[in-house]
Symmetry: C2
Subunit: 290 residues, 2 copies
């Protein structure tokens, strides 16, 4: 498995990826999944990959080879727009999969890619390239794209990432997202790569490889763990806690308190007040529903 994320902010792009690849739990290795291809000062592309490693490497090998071939009719050096770059990589991916499928070995050779970058004179952009070769871009409402094991790390991105966030904050959020994923899925593993591409810089400004024992990563994990713990403890109290605590500690305001707004289950429920009493009654049959 794999987990990669790309974030599009107003100030530029952020990329992050783990480095673990596995062909079964007994064959685990470390591979880059974050690849930078550039024409310095003119265009920068970052490619993230999840899926069959041979297909990914086919795409990267041809993309690099044709980029350096002055006779290539289409390459990352010649495409006019970021969409064309995504389309070009998609076609390379389809070609690699078709070639592998000829052997008909019933192996999944699909790869999903994220392409991000900027071509001079154009806006930065990120695209997700599906195994079919087609692609979608991020949007202001959904300014990030994920591939691989995406679920564990999505909630923090959902809650924090907006187009106006600082690039560094987005990078830290991506690291937290990766950390949550590595904690739950051992097929996603360290070290992690992070790259920042500021808008109109046309060069990666910062790239990091962080392992669990890298001091920065360790301090990030520690800070995040402590802050999350405090955040849960500082959530609004239930009304019975407020009532219980009143005689003992009569200092309201240290936490926001929901006060009398929720109730225990009560036969006389008032759904019009925005809540309903829980009903532990038997349900009727309805076959096939899940």
């Amino acid at each position: 498995m794999t987990y990669c994320v790309a974030i599009k902010c107003n100030d530029g792009l952020v990329f992050a990826a783990d480095t673990r690849t596995a062909a079964g739990v007994d064959d685990v290795r470390t591979y880059n999944k974050l690849h930078v291809l550039e024409v310095p000062g003119q265009r920068v592309f970052v490619i993230l990959s999840a899926g069959n490693l041979a297909t990914t490497q086919y795409v990267l090998a041809y993309a690099r080879r044709e980029m350096n071939d002055p006779n290539a009719t289409t390459s990352l050096r010649t495409v006019r727009h970021m969409f064309d770059a995504a389309d070009y990589l998609g076609q390379l991916s389809v070609r690699a999969q078709k070639q592998a499928a000829e052997a008909n070995m019933n192996v999944n050779v699909e790869t999903t890619l994220i392409l991000g970058g900027q071509i001079m004179g154009e806006d930065p952009a990120i695209y997700m390239i599906y195994p079919l070769g087609n692609c979608i871009s991020a949007s202001p409402e959904m300014p990030f794209l994920q591939i691989g094991e995406i679920k564990y790390g999505k909630p923090i991105l959902d809650r924090f990432v907006r187009p106006q966030v600082k690039l560094e904050d987005a990078a830290r959020c991506a690291l937290v997202s990766l950390d949550s994923t590595m904690r739950s899925n051992i097929s996603v593993g360290p070290p992690v790569d992070v790259a920042i591409l500021p808008r109109d810089g046309l060069a990666i400004s910062h790239s990091l490889r962080l392992d669990f024992d890298t001091p920065y990563y360790a301090s990030l994990k520690d800070s995040w763990g402590r802050q999350l713990e405090n955040a849960v403890r500082n959530l609004p109290k239930f009304d019975w806690e407020v009532q219980q605590s009143l005689p003992l500690s009569p200092h309201p305001g240290s936490n926001f308190v929901a006060g009398q707004q929720q109730r225990q289950v009560d036969a006389s429920s008032h759904p019009q007040q925005g809540w309903q009493a829980a009903q532990w009654s038997s349900d009727t049959d309805d076959s096939g529903r899940r």
Copy 2:
């Protein structure tokens, strides 16, 4: 889909569940997935369910019927241990699935259940009951069990839930976990049910049904969103941010700062220091790896 979670703390048990069931996106309804069966003052059982609703309701109907039947050889009223209760429900589930499978309609009739509760004189316990009828319990290292759409809501449980947390904190953590899940999977939806069973109380002390517009739930969401945003913004700065900000705001210590501990990519990497320079080189082929 569904998302349910049960947490075992030293002080007792916490249960939470969404209420959305769907037979396709064009047939969505609200059903309880949190069911309480009790013999007041002697034993309390809470059953959470994810999967085929008819199988679930078969299990609940027979569990209730046999509990109230003085001639039943085995029932939730007669079982000696929580494990036996889990085993009993597992057998009901298998029987429901076998009966439905006789029609051979190629419909998935599997259900996964969580059983939690306490029998007087025994410790409280939570079990996950698989469609095969077998079961596992929680452990001190993994004091919660989830069924249904478990991934989005797992990171916050991983980071916060420990046996020693307060029941109310565990309940708030479960609500946040549910909220993250509902945000990402529309087949998990409000209202949500929460129930708290204090150790040795042998009765549910608090049960709530919360909808998006319930004032408590709204304040919880708001508090969580603001706190998470602050938590990301308070993570340790990258070293280049520290260097940039030094001339402008020379007051260290307001954030923990990783200082000089991470580096930008540099050809002269020092892996023995716990980090490595990112390498954007071409990888070698290795077919079949993902």
